[in-house]
């Protein structure tokens, strides 16, 4: 017992070098660079209203990125989220426009549909543990969007009550509701991941699923829960997105899965599971969002944007693996 304590103590020796070599510092650096770039581009950028406008230009996607952190940390992946957004948005819109259900109830329906979509993913994956999350969510990705297309065909569904657009555009003072909701959820997710047993269990599952199972963690139950949560938050995105657009089409939210995964991976969460911190993911959400906003200000074509975001993703993941990164890491090890 005394020995284990000593080992733990030895590992917890604080070193400034190690402290500053964390991924999050690199992210903060990039974040500052992006903001400096935006400031040079637009002199109105660095004001409260400028920053808030920039924030609301991308924040609805970020709601998917929050549970995606959990999904990647337990070593899974979910690429059906974009389609879940479409299906829940379409069902919400149609139950208001075709069935005449009051909008408040429709929002609840939207959340339920999203939750159900996530639950189906989780259910299949936990019943048939041999299956890969990649392929199951690929199937449901085609299925969910397919159902959305079946319902709306090539039409759009619009005409929502006036207050519905307030969900996205509404503000308290000058702070959008959405930002407040996001901050609350981000804080809750961060605390759950880092400060609760549930969070530690997720890390354990991601590092070694078999070992966690033998340690008495209900691996499949937690996986089911995480997938269901992802579906629920896809529905939250659907509500904000529909409120913003004022209409919905079956192709809404296309490619959101890739953006959410890019945000999380850039944030330093390993796709192999068990590694990464919540702060990183949140900073990465803002990096990608502000970068897109800034590039949009100087009329960067969307095609060039694709290249920039793609390169950023690859370079970010490759950077720690390159010679330079390993050199630094080796030095710190010998130093210790």
């Amino acid at each position: 017992m005394a020995q284990t304590k000593r080992i733990i103590a030895a590992e917890k020796v604080f070193s400034w070098k190690k402290f500053f070599l964390q991924w999050e510092w690199f992210l903060i650096l990039v974040f500052i660079l992006v903001n400096v770039m935006n400031m040079i581009i637009s002199r109105y950028y660095l004001s409260a209203s400028g920053l808030l406008t920039a924030t609301s230009s991308f924040l609805e996607k970020a709601f998917i990125a929050l549970p995606m952190v959990f999904v990647l940390i337990i070593g899974d992946i979910d690429i059906s989220v974009g389609s879940t957004v479409a299906l829940s948005s379409v069902i919400m819109a149609e139950s208001y426009n075709k069935l005449g259900i009051p909008m408040g109830v429709c929002i609840v329906i939207c959340l339920l549909v999203g939750t159900l979509c996530g639950f189906i993913n989780g259910f299949i994956l936990t019943k048939f543990t041999e299956l890969f999350p990649m392929i199951v969510t690929l199937g449901t990705m085609i299925l969910y969007r397919g159902i959305a297309v079946m319902i709306l065909e090539d039409q759009a569904s619009k005409n929502f009550p006036d207050w519905f657009s307030n969900i996205f555009w509404g503000k308290i003072g000058s702070v959008p509701y959405m930002l407040i909701v996001f901050i609350v959820f981000a804080a809750v997710f961060g605390i759950v991941l880092h400060k609760t047993t549930f969070g530690r269990r997720m890390y354990a599952i991601g590092s070694n699923r078999t070992a966690s199972k033998y340690a008495g963690i209900e691996v499949q139950k937690i996986r089911l829960l995480v997938y269901t949560l992802t579906g629920l938050f896809a529905a939250v995105t659907a509500i904000f997105l529909t409120s913003r657009m004022g209409s919905t089409r079956p192709n809404i939210g296309e490619g959101y899965e890739l953006e959410a995964i890019s945000m999380v991976v850039l944030g330093g969460v390993s796709t192999a599971g068990g590694k990464g911190r919540f702060v990183g993911a949140v900073i990465a959400i803002f990096i990608i969002g502000f970068l897109r906003y800034g590039l949009g200000l100087i009329n960067t074509k969307s095609e060039a944007m694709l290249i920039i975001i793609g390169s950023l993703l690859i370079v970010a993941v490759m950077f720690p693996n390159l010679k330079l990164g390993s050199l630094i890491r080796r030095k710190t090890k010998s130093h210790k």
Partner: protein, 331 residues
């Protein structure tokens, strides 16, 4: 009852046989609904439309065999096809074969970059290819200045390739058949082919036994790129136009075809016969749904449902297989 059981047992003996069985039932059901389905003209149509998928599936199978995945192929297809089409637009004298070779060459370069980033950069395949999916798609729009290349701008010789036939069989089907044959031989009987299986089944053991894993990875991704280039050329030739968004989402169909055919995403498991059957399944679905008057708006939902059912059936077959094997060992 015993008899039924023994038949069921022999059917579940191998994945391929059970898949053939499912396909026969599917075809029979469609034929009952519409007797045009099994006519020569329709089967020809079905195969021609499935060829691009087949060419890509062959490459995807090798990628999946080493435990990787490549979701950038749709973008590679668009980029290579666009480059070939632009060359024909700007230099109409270029022989058809040269533009096709350029398309394949660009594809190999794309694949090589993918392979280098994955093998040398240590980026996991799904993330690397997701990044390149964006990069290649963006590059396609940039080289084409977001414009289409139209039918009149593509040399007739190039368009004719997919219309003509060799020995009465459409050239595209010939290309797909050659791909299947070459890769069946390559994977089964050449040293590199066996190494691919070895890397996929157990990378560590393969490394210890002296296989250069990163070289195998780079080779496989380059092959995948080259085949995407070939598919890009076929696409431009068949549809007589090159667009920035061609081939969007095709990677999902290809992966689905491989998985239905029993290729494991874990690597090391999968046969060419299975992939052929997987491609046929998706080809039949794409062809038959309009024939039996299913609204085109319903097709994606049905496709998704069938993919999920197929992979679940696959697992159930595998479970019975394993159980039977265990029983045999006990005896």
């Amino acid at each position: 009852m015993e008899k039924i059981k023994s038949i069921a047992k022999s059917l579940t003996k191998s994945r391929e046989i059970s898949l053939v069985f499912v396909l026969i039932i599917l075809c029979a059901a469609i034929q009952l609904k519409n007797n045009q389905f099994l006519s020569f003209a329709n089967i020809n149509d079905l195969l021609v439309n499935a060829t691009i998928m087949c060419v890509l599936a062959v490459g995807m199978m090798s990628v999946l065999l080493i435990g990787g995945i490549d979701i950038s192929i749709g973008s590679t297809l668009a980029l290579t096809g666009m480059v070939a089409a632009l060359i024909m637009r700007d230099f109409p004298q270029t022989p058809a074969i040269v533009s096709a070779l350029i398309s394949i060459g660009v594809g190999i370069i794309c694949g090589l970059v993918n392979g280098l980033v994955i093998a040398k950069g240590g980026v996991i395949p799904i993330i690397a290819t997701m990044g390149f999916m964006n990069i290649f798609r963006g590059a396609t729009y940039i080289v084409s200045k977001s414009q289409w290349v139209h039918k009149e701008q593509i040399t007739p010789a190039f368009q004719d390739f997919t219309l003509n036939s060799t020995f009465g069989i459409n050239n595209m089907i010939v290309v797909a058949a050659v791909c299947f044959a070459v890769f069946a031989y390559f994977l089964k009987f050449t040293r590199t082919g066996r190494k691919i299986y070895a890397v996929g089944s157990n990378a560590e053991a393969a490394q210890v036994s002296g296989i250069n894993i990163s070289r195998i990875k780079i080779i496989v991704y380059s092959i995948m790129g080259g085949l995407s280039g070939l598919a890009g050329a076929l696409w431009v030739s068949k549809y007589a136009s090159a667009q920035g968004d061609s081939g969007k989402g095709i990677e999902m169909d290809i992966i689905a075809a491989c998985v239905i055919g029993g290729v494991s995403l874990n690597g090391g498991k999968g046969t060419m016969l299975g992939v052929v059957l997987g491609c046929l399944t998706l080809g039949i679905l794409n062809n038959a749904l309009p024939l039996i008057n299913v609204s085109s708006f319903w097709q994606d939902a049905i496709k998704g449902l069938i993919i999920i059912t197929a992979i679940i059936l696959n697992v159930l077959t595998q479970r019975t297989l394993d159980k039977n094997n265990l029983k045999r060992r006990e005896l």
